[in-house]
């Protein structure tokens, strides 16, 4: 499965007064990689599906980035 977040390091100028965010991230959810959903994908149970917002685990996209401890910025 493709990664759900991508990271990049923005240029940091010497005269930028806000504390710099050294690594920024953006979301790349699964629909970007699945041009056309194949048949027969594994499914959640109905209760799980409701809680995840989709019937198919492969299409589930977490937010915020779980790797970033729940915050958007690094």
């Amino acid at each position: 499965m493709s990664s759900q977040f991508k990271y990049w390091e923005p240029y940091i100028g010497p005269f930028d007064p806000c504390k710099p965010i050294r690594v920024k991230s953006y979301s790349t959810p699964p629909q970007l990689y699945m041009n056309f959903q194949p048949a027969g994908l594994k499914q959640f149970t109905p209760k799980q599906a409701l809680m995840h917002g989709t019937l198919w685990p492969q299409l589930y996209s977490p937010y915020p980035d779980p790797k970033k401890g729940g915050t958007k910025h690094a």
């Binding site: 699964p30 699945m34 917002g53 299409l59 589930y60 996209s61 937010y63 915020p64 915050t71």
Partner: protein
């Protein structure tokens, strides 16, 4: 015609009385990339889109109305019985002076909803590309509201709505694939 079903699509909860979160959320009620814009956009495009994808636009329009009702429920619960002082402290003094605690179709900055937010070009590819973009913009808006919110129950509902944007985006992408398929050729998927 339409029938009403007396239930939300998803069990909406909020943790605290918090008019400031309601102010942010109202973007998804009456804002450019909000649920009202989405519902009305698809409801209107369905009349001129090719028959093969009318059903998809129709169903997604219906689901968007359910999301509009979820957003309204969140805003209603976050502001129900909030005092004028609480509304003012949350930056909703100008809202209160016109609307009391009523909901209204405007964005986070109080700009009223306008049909200029949506389009119907009659060209199916142009319309579906707008729809895909609208879903991605709504997804982004949900992300930024989740970032602003410290209410775990509210965020639970917002994560559900964000995921729905992803599914709708995929279905619109599939609709484009269906429309661009060479006629008489075997399907590749």
């Amino acid at each position: 015609m339409f029938y009403y079903e007396k239930k939300l699509q998803y069990p909406v909860r909020v943790s605290t009385c918090n008019p400031m979160l309601a102010k942010f959320l109202i973007e998804q009620y009456g804002g450019a990339d909000g649920e009202l814009a989405a519902a009305l956009r698809y409801m209107n495009q369905r009349y001129s889109i090719p028959d093969k994808v009318i059903g998809l636009l129709n169903d997604i329009a219906m689901e968007e109305f359910s999301h509009l009702e979820m957003i309204a429920t969140m805003i209603y619960k976050l502001t129900k019985d909030a005092t004028p002082e609480m509304m003012k402290a949350a930056g909703l003094g100008d809202h209160y002076s016109v609307h009391d605690n009523a909901l209204f179709y405007h964005n986070s900055s109080g700009v009223p909803w306008t049909a200029a937010y949506i389009q119907a070009k009659g060209d199916p590819i142009a319309d579906l590309y707008e729809d895909i973009a609208a879903e991605e913009k709504a997804r982004a808006t949900y992300q930024w509201i989740i970032d602003l919110s410290d209410d775990p129950d509210l965020n639970d509902g917002l994560k559900f709505l964000r995921e729905r944007e992803i599914i709708h985006s995929l279905r619109f992408r599939e609709a484009v694939e269906i429309l661009k398929e060479e006629q008489g050729k075997k399907k590749f998927y």
